[in-house]
Symmetry: C2
Subunit: 152 residues, 2 copies
DNA sequence: CATTGAATGTAGCCTGGGCTACATTGTTGT
DNA sequence: ACAACAATGTAGCCCAGGCTACATTCAATG
């Protein structure tokens, strides 16, 4: 590490600054979409399972308190993804259902890929929950292709 | 759990509440470790490349302003991962270096796996940046095994 | 049909991670 | 040597997403 301070030591395997900044920026963006996607997906699942999604149930399943869940649902409503009337269940708009479908498909695809490369079921489900928000379209396409090649 | 004695539809393919809450909790935890890991990894890379890590450089590469980077570095110092003296570069403690090494190895492994299943290089790098924080040990072990099987 | 417990909603606080604006210190070129 | 500029540091704000505490409404049941 005692590099002569004069020599223009070129970065070895480091990406260029703008590239790297863009990557980290994308990751931050994905983090912020995460909450929205998790809620929408969960609400869709609850509706499919019970015909409606109750705030308390959403909160319990996400492992947060109910005011937190309500606040997030309020955001979904602001964003036009969900609807709800006081003291009633939570429902998804058309846009919400579309997003849920997309998210669910992505989730399944990632779990399948993880399983295909040997990740145990429980770990695959748990890790997919976090990773799914960071998979680009290019990556998803590659996953789909890999799986179809493997299963043929 | 959701097993009402009445005629309520039981949840079909949904995980039990506690399981699901635990998964989401882990994902939230991973999100909060993300920043720490990103900074430590980047600082280690900069030190390897230039002999030191400057705050401005860190900020530029993460795509944030320098006060933000400084605030985060202050947190790293509080957590015993980094050291720095006013107007000097940033360095890692022993713990910081260990974490950096772990993070870097994980990053490489994930990029390799993505490439191995056909993800293009740029997407693999970018997506790994986000996904790496969500890969459990079980998943990493499976990845390593998959790669070594493939390369043999 | 009145009561009561659970679900829902509201208020207000905290923390982390962004930002801008401004102040201070280092470094470098002439 | 020192002026000017870049880098570093500080102050103070914002917003999102947690939480607790308290208020309100629903619904179930005695």
């Amino acid at each position: 590490m005692a590099r002569p301070a004069d020599g223009r030591t070129p970065a070895p395997a480091m990406p260029a600054e703008p590239t790297q900044a863009r990557r980290f920026g994308k990751a931050r963006e994905a983090r912020s979409a995460t909450l929205t996607e998790d809620y929408v997906e969960l609400i869709a699942d609850l509706i499919a399972a019970h015909g409606e999604a109750r705030a308390t149930e959403v909160a319990k399943r996400l492992g947060v308190t109910h005011p937190t869940a309500l606040k997030s649902v309020a955001r979904l409503k602001r964003e036009g993804l969900a609807t709800s009337r006081p003291y009633r269940g939570i429902f998804l708009t058309e846009a919400g259902r579309a997003l849920a479908e997309k998210v669910r498909a992505r989730h399944r695809l990632i779990v399948e890929l993880l399983r295909a490369v040997g990740v145990p079921a429980e770990a695959a489900e748990a890790d997919a929950e976090g990773m799914e928000h960071h998979a680009s379209d290019a990556t998803l396409r590659a996953f789909a292709k890999f799986l179809s090649a493997k299963n043929s």
